[in-house]
Symmetry: C2
Subunit: 456 residues, 2 copies
Amino acid sequence: MSDKRKRYILPEEEIPHYWYNIQADMVNKPMPPLHPKTKQPLKAEDLYPIFAEELCRQELNQTDAWIEIPEEVREMYKYYRSTPLVRAYGLEKALGTPAHIYFKNESVSPIGSHKLNSALAQAYYCKQEGVTNITTETGAGQWGAALSYAAKVFGLEAAVYQVKISYEQKPYRRSIMQTFGAQVTPSPSMSTRAGKDILTAHPNYQGSLGTAISEAIELAQMTPNCKYTLGSVLSHVTLHQTIIGLEAEKQMEMAGEYPDVVIGCFGGGSNFGGISFPFMRHNILEGKKTRFVAAEPASCPKLTRGKFQYDFGDEAGYTPLLPMFTLGHNFAPAHIHAGGLRYHGAGVIVSQLLKDKLMEAVDIQQLESFEAGCLFAQAEGIIPAPESCHAIAAAIREANQCKETGEEKVILFNLSGHGLIDMASYDKYLAGDLVNYSLTDEDIQKNLDEIGNLEK
Amino acid sequence: MSDKRKRYILPEEEIPHYWYNIQADMVNKPMPPLHPKTKQPLKAEDLYPIFAEELCRQELNQTDAWIEIPEEVREMYKYYRSTPLVRAYGLEKALGTPAHIYFKNESVSPIGSHKLNSALAQAYYCKQEGVTNITTETGAGQWGAALSYAAKVFGLEAAVYQVKISYEQKPYRRSIMQTFGAQVTPSPSMSTRAGKDILTAHPNYQGSLGTAISEAIELAQMTPNCKYTLGSVLSHVTLHQTIIGLEAEKQMEMAGEYPDVVIGCFGGGSNFGGISFPFMRHNILEGKKTRFVAAEPASCPKLTRGKFQYDFGDEAGYTPLLPMFTLGHNFAPAHIHAGGLRYHGAGVIVSQLLKDKLMEAVDIQQLESFEAGCLFAQAEGIIPAPESCHAIAAAIREANQCKETGEEKVILFNLSGHGLIDMASYDKYLAGDLVNYSLTDEDIQKNLDEIGNLEK
């Protein structure tokens, strides 16, 4: 065995004081979100009824590269950050690759994933602005758990709509949210117009993030002193997640290396952007040549097979129109176990970056993702979340390529969360009960044709 | 909020190179284990058929205070250690106590508990001695998961007997062990004589650690090149767990404090001893006055209501006779959700220390333990294992006392693991479906009378 250092943790004073806003450094800025009714470019004020005002300003900020982390949020970060950067010797050995594989271990956050990084920030700003209640949606439950705890930290009440399929597949996440004191409702529900509408049309609909978002927004708008919060997709969420990459940058320096490839799994883009953007900054400003790879599920391939166009962020069309790679806001993804990746669109920043070829995307089938997850578990002792398994699978592909070429590439991926709540999914995988899902080009096109051109 | 540092992590070079063997410093050494057949004091060689030889020597070592951690084990420790020492400001605030509460967060180990500290050591020594297969028992599954992964690290095959009640209450732990590649059997099973005997007498017996130990020992003895491993109780297991307290000692120094009270939950004693003994050393050698409190479940009260006598470590009587506080090796504990604490006896070191009043014990009812766990979860964001909830409850009792007296005591407890696999138990607690269990003095005496004096 090697005697090299395997785990890198930053001293407390090195925990970043600023998030990184890549919009300021992008040559081609993201196109503006459009007001859902007027179709005019959105102003921050247009979003005030839905989100905390500071978050609205962050959302549209294309000028400030560095946004200060409020002291109260940084104070909470210090409870669990820096998360470790780990050299995955076990995985390297199992693969027999000359590549150097590193992962940023966000699974050691108290709630088990990176989601807490933005939940704390969002709850904090809501509290600052006098909000008393917050709503949100959650897929696999990682975001819902984070938000429930963050709400408790800042003394807010939280109501969470959990995608029904996940609510049933992952009952423990519901329990976690309830243990933190949140109210949890499976979505679609009969508690909102959006929920009722879709249940009337499709009584057995198992839910999607898009529908749950509609329900959570509607509840926030109907409740006094209540704001909505979102766990991914939006630019301010990704902004908060850059703490991951900013730490990783310093930690890679401790390891004396710099990544050739940075990989994140991809649902809405916040964990991917979180680990990537601080490194991408050096590509943009200094001409570094690091590759950035988003790993999405083959059953929900908005980046690899979707279309770049204006679309809604939610199923019912309550959100602004966003310029995004999308499969259509009415897209009903297959019931894969990576619930956090079952979303039809990509955030506006990532969409622009992909359009400009500053990053790449790969699609991963369900079975390949779990195979990668089991190999990683046995090699590193950590059961990864089904979402994170996609990043691991993509990293393994890269590492295996290095085995062929003999290249000692440095691969960095984000282990966004652990999968301890997802053991029922592993059970099914080990029993041979999981399947892959295929989409034809016609399926995809038909769905996009249905929504048509929303700008007009 | 305070701007004080909240989390203390040791630089890698500060991770201890030695475990601490308190036996060497004890004035009254533990009485010797007796051979189950001859009733003569045991020699290390007598244990060689069951355990790796180095572990047998460690078990009976009463002279060396410091045992070197093998480089290969320390190398693996570096993957997840030091675990953080955390100042529990959230909990202090929730309680309104002047006490300073710290916890050592073993829940961030890859497998989610402190158990990995000994699993890696035991698997390593087995591998060194040419063993190919290892067996063990597990209650809640924390130890089984740790051992399964440790076996994989050192290329061994693992077979685990899981107490049936836990196997059913916590199916995810079984999945975790299987994901790590272990074979898992619910105990009692028909695969051993011990299992058959008890199932014949009590067809619906839901199992206990004592029975599972018997089965695992029997399998090890029937299988070529196979050794048995144990997750607690024995002195060598506690020895390995002293890494917890040794780190905590240095981390408390970083915090500029020294504990007035050290608390651990108590099943067999290894997590309690692990955090306590390095501090107790200063009581013994330097006359410090720290108190040490073992928190056991009221339904399995060997320390607070058991008898100090020679007894078997397992249900079938395969182990040596150990001088221990015990409820009788035939004791069938109530079906509390803290499966890891459902054990009839206490390790020989702890038993001697309790007899000599160098430590104390308290018993905690199931409902108090979960109440404490939920409060902690909301305050600190970490869902504690039901076992660890007992330590939290005891810490809260101490902190509340400080509130009354106004004392600023420093309280340190071990958060031995997280409870993410135990959410079904939390569900039942939140639904009001959990109960307390009472034992009469007659129940306890009757059970002890049944086993009689085993020395003769």
